[in-house]
């Protein structure tokens, strides 16, 4: 495990109605084991609640996990809620059962990266790290 100089804070949220948080918890633990401080918000949160928590916790990135299929509306809604909260600079990464053809449009709507089941966890951690690095670099 490479030594991480700066301790990054990230938030893992689960918007929408599905109650399966195994994926979210798996990522949260993997990030912790990679040296991140991970705020977990629990299941069934609105995009506004997730954005408000991300602001209060001053995280450098938000990770969303969703299995219900509502990613096309909920992921962009979190991006919008962050912008409305004056935190549009916080990158949003999304994971879940997401068809390939949705990935492009999600990225167009402001999602930083999208991961589907089977993505190696190291790749996800690296994506969080680089998202955090660029967010912090842009801080004023």
């Amino acid at each position: 495990m490479p030594e991480q100089k700066k301790t990054y804070r990230v938030l893992i949220g689960k918007p929408g109605l599905d109650g399966h948080d195994r994926g979210a918890k798996f990522i949260a633990r993997a990030l912790r084991d990679a040296g991140f401080e991970v705020v977990y918000t629990g299941i069934r949160r609105t995009p506004e609640e997730i954005a408000a928590a991300a602001v209060q916790e001053d995280v450098s990135a938000v990770g969303l996990s969703l299995l219900s299929g509502a990613h096309m509306s909920l992921f962009p809604a979190v991006v919008r809620a962050l912008r409305n909260a004056g935190a549009g600079d916080i990158p949003v990464l999304g994971g879940g059962i997401i068809p390939d053809e949705d990935i492009g449009p999600l990225k167009d709507s402001g999602i930083n990266a999208v991961y589907t089941p089977g993505t190696p966890v190291d790749k996800i951690i690296a994506a969080f790290r680089s998202a955090c690095e660029s967010q912090e670099a842009g801080r004023t």
Partner: protein, 305 residues
């Protein structure tokens, strides 16, 4: 520019400004001193800092959520510092206390900040103390500090609090035995949560007995409260107990004494933190035989110019 931006955000009680300020002090940013100096000391003096500690899963966060609701209904602005341990291996942490408090997420007058211990108790106190000041300085008149506490090592954190409550629940087994000696002595209020579960009555009776036994000189008897945090039961009584302890501490001068002690200990933490690098440097340069008692060597090292 950066400093003005953040100081303005803090002054305006902008959620992002407050959050950034806490991060900067947590990271020992050069701006920390300026941030802390900008705060209104009278607000910091007046705020009530309530410590909630107890073993994992006792219901601390659920209880905190209920206490927030009560104080909000009184129109008070509430700050929460929820502390979880950092992993000693990776340095990372999962901060999950907020899950129970998400019902307040959209309320700008409830400011919740999760913090990891970052492996250094003194460091935590420095950061938690600073976070407490920032929350108070930004208008929170009640500040709740939640920490996992199963022994005396966690008392460092609690020393920041004006009032300390210890949350227990039936079925936590040996933890309670281990704690009797430590935290029970510093707790102002003992909370038996999960009063809906078997064994709560017995636990409460045990606690009552300990509270009577442990009455410290010139100190009001430790109050025992029973709650069902998940159902919001017993919270009014708990708040009454908190208010009573607070009033008595203010009147007796205990509150001021604790604040002074906490402040001095924070200064001590910082003094040790500041002196450490120079000692490490001295040890690195020191040509010695590595024999005899290390304590004696340390004394010699410090005596050396």
């Amino acid at each position: 520019m950066k400093s003005e931006h953040i100081l303005k955000g803090l002054r305006d009680r902008d959620p992002r400004g407050i959050a950034r300020a806490i991060s900067l002090v947590e990271e020992n940013d050069p701006l920390s001193d300026e941030i802390l100096a900008s705060l209104d000391d009278s607000l910091v003096d007046q705020a009530m800092v309530l410590g909630i500690t107890g073993p994992p899963g006792a219901g601390k966060s659920t209880l905190t959520d209920r206490i927030i609701t009560k104080y909000r209904s009184q129109g008070r602005r509430v700050g929460v510092i929820a502390v979880d341990p950092s992993s000693p291996i990776s340095g990372g942490a999962i901060l999950g206390d907020r899950i129970r408090m998400m019902g307040h997420a959209l309320d700008h007058d409830v400011v919740v900040r999760s913090m990891a211990t970052r492996g250094r108790l003194g460091g935590l106190c420095a950061a938690a103390g600073a976070a407490m000041r920032i929350l108070a300085g930004s208008g929170c008149s009640v500040i709740i500090i939640e920490t996992v506490g199963v022994g005396q090592s966690e008392m460092d954190i609690i020393r920041l609090a004006d009032i300390t409550s210890l949350v227990l629940a039936p079925g936590l087994g040996d933890d309670i035995q281990a704690m009797k000696a430590g935290l029970l002595e510093v707790a102002d209020i003992l909370i038996v949560n999960k009063a809906d579960c078997a064994g709560a009555e017995t636990l409460a009776m045990d606690m009552e007995a300990i509270a009577r036994e442990g009455v410290r000189k010139e100190k009001v008897e430790t109050k025992v409260c029973m709650t069902v945090a998940s159902e919001g039961k017993g919270i009014n009584e708990l708040l009454a107990a908190i208010e009573a302890v607070d009033a008595s501490h203010r009147e007796s001068g205990e509150r001021r004494i604790r604040r002074e002690k906490a402040y001095d200990l924070e200064v001590l933490d910082w003094a040790l933190e500041l002196i450490k690098p120079s000692i490490i440097e001295k040890i690195g340069k020191w040509d010695h035989d590595r024999k005899g008692a290390p304590r004696l060597q340390a004394a010699r090292l410090l005596a050396q110019e």
